[in-house]
């Protein structure tokens, strides 16, 4: 099987050739430590600044507000734990949602074990946070609201501007995990009242192992990794120069291509959703139909389980992912799918396909043609489907 259709771009993306090319010299000739005094070291300080600036501009932020980290998870951990510590004299309450990434949820659980209180907001059936519920959850002791920009599984985009406004009206810090959203939708930290924002390089055709946390000037946030004076003394460790160069190059590229790329993805996304809804019975689109990442398609197919779908897709050269328990390493299916109200057995039958600019309409047709057969095949083996058909026949 030579064909490979990669539909798991929410998991990671292919590093763009121009990104790899930009990075290579910093592994070879320009390998110097930016903190060194001599030429090949010190020159890299400017290189870092240049790429930091690209990223800052993409967000409407100041260059000094971008702090490089090792990735999205570190950024999320830092934003939550360090803010909690820095603001604990003001209060001990944090508001987040039930559908956050585990880097947020597990950090919150950790903080709860250290005496902090966390409110986990519900979401509606489309995965959207209720602003009234958010307002009602605010206490005098609330120090931080952390709501993801867009969900990694179901693609739902939150009303970030409104959440930011509410946070700032109440004098509360607002953090958003934008790992999936950055470079897929326009983001401006001023317009959206964002105080902190997490991002990761490998989700936008950049390298793995690099991320950043945007921290608005004035936010008191302490160092998370102690050591040297890098990143304005807030994040120690010799800078990942090739990673930073790759990240900056990837962001420049993503900003340049965003309009055209996402317009194409949206068209294919909606075409894919339409074909699935028309051609595969007993399915449900997960996530909001329009307030949705341009590249995200997520469906639940009743009576079947996700992993058996994924293996069959893989046998046909199609890479996708699922929120079933079998793929999560626990007995429970995805917390996101449960939070939008899916019963367990329907959550087990979910399939996420996330597009890239490389995907064509022919690819989508190939995928749907196979998916139809795969769903029918697995249903033919399913006792749940058997029971459903018998019940329906009796009813008629």
């Amino acid at each position: 099987m030579n064909k490979l259709i990669y539909l798991d771009n929410a998991a990671t993306t292919k590093t763009a050739p121009e990104v790899v090319e930009a990075m290579l010299p910093y592994y070879t000739e320009q390998f110097g430590n930016p903190s060194s005094i001599y030429g090949i070291g010190a020159a890299n300080k400017d290189v870092i600044t240049e790429h930091r600036e690209i990223i800052a501009n993409a967000l409407g932020a100041k260059t000094s507000e971008i702090y490089f980290t090792a990735g999205g998870s570190e950024s999320d951990n830092w934003a939550l734990k360090a803010t909690a510590e820095a603001y604990q004299s003001k209060g001990n309450h944090i508001i987040t949602s039930k559908i956050e990434h585990h880097a947020i949820l597990h950090s919150c659980q950790y903080l709860e074990s250290r005496g902090f209180e966390v409110t986990y907001l519900d979401v509606d059936e489309n995965g959207v946070v209720d602003l009234e519920e958010l307002k009602a959850a605010i206490r005098p002791t609330t120090i931080l609201i952390s709501i993801m920009f867009a969900n990694n599984e179901i693609g739902t985009i939150q009303p970030i501007r409104e959440i930011g406004e509410i946070a700032h009206e109440h004098g509360i810090l607002f953090h958003t995990d934008a790992v999936q959203a950055f470079a897929q939708v326009p983001i401006n930290v001023e317009e959206y009242h964002i105080d902190m924002l997490s991002s990761s390089g490998h989700k936008l055709n950049g390298p793995k192992g690099i991320g950043f946390l945007y921290i608005r000037t004035g936010v008191k946030i302490r160092s998370f990794v102690h050591g040297g004076a890098q990143e304005r003394k807030r994040r120690a460790g010799t800078e990942n120069v090739p990673g930073i160069v790759g990240y900056g190059t990837a962001v420049a590229r993503a900003m340049r291509t965003m309009e055209e790329r996402t317009a194409k993805e949206k068209e294919l996304r909606d075409y894919m959703i339409e074909r699935i809804e028309n051609e595969i019975p007993y399915c449900r689109l997960n996530g909001h139909r329009t307030k949705r990442l341009p590249n995200n398609v997520n469906f639940s197919f009743r009576f079947i389980e996700g992993e058996s779908m994924l293996i069959n897709l893989d046998l046909n050269g199609i890479c996708a992912s699922s929120g079933s328990a079998c793929t999560s390493g626990s007995l429970d299916p995805s917390h996101v799918l449960l939070a939008i109200g899916l019963p367990h057995e329907i959550a087990h039958g979910s399939l996420r396909m996330t597009l890239s600019e490389e995907i064509t309409k022919e690819d989508i047709d190939y995928v749907i043609d196979h998916l139809k057969d795969i769903v029918a095949l697995i249903r033919s083996m399913s006792p749940l489907y058997e029971d459903f058909l018998k019940k329906n026949n009796k009813g008629e």
Binding site: E307, P343, M381
Partner: protein, 146 residues
């Protein structure tokens, strides 16, 4: 992640289907955890398993273990069928990843549940067989959501 044998039984599952008026039917597991196995047995007057079919809702390993389990009990008498343990199913598949061992347990339980059903229907007692603990109740989840 899976052995060749598991993949073979997943891609070409043996004995998928139903048996009408089966001598015994056993359904184990639950939809909540993502695995349900149903095994149908056709047992003759000499207590030989003439035919065995399965339906499974679950992952690749669940389908492969169901398929292998039906292969292993087919043609055996009911006492021999009791000896088809989860270990036997796993060995026949050249092993399962640790997180999938429960699938083989489910296969063993499904056979036991089908044999228990047979014993009850025919009012006999099968030595060494205890009442299956894992039998799912029908219609526990609301089905007609959309």
């Amino acid at each position: 992640m899976y052995t060749e044998k598991v993949m073979d039984h997943f891609q070409h599952p043996r004995n998928v289907g139903e048996i009408e008026n089966a001598s015994g039917v056993g359904t184990v597991g639950n939809a909540k955890c993502g695995d349900i196995m149903r095994i149908y047995l056709d047992i003759d007057d000499n207590q030989i398993i003439r035919d065995c079919k399965f339906k499974t809702f679950g992952c690749g390993a669940a389908i492969a273990t169901s398929s292998m389990a039906t292969e292993l009990v087919k043609g055996k008498n009911i006492r021999e069928a009791l000896e088809v343990t989860n270990k036997a199913v796993m060995e026949a598949l050249d092993g399962l990843p640790p997180v999938k061992v429960h699938c083989s347990l489910l296969a063993e339980e499904a056979i036991h549940a089908a044999l228990w059903d047979y014993a009850e229907k025919h009012d006999i007692k099968i030595e060494g067989l205890t009442k299956p603990k894992n039998d799912i109740s029908e219609g526990e989840e609301d089905e007609d959501e959309y």
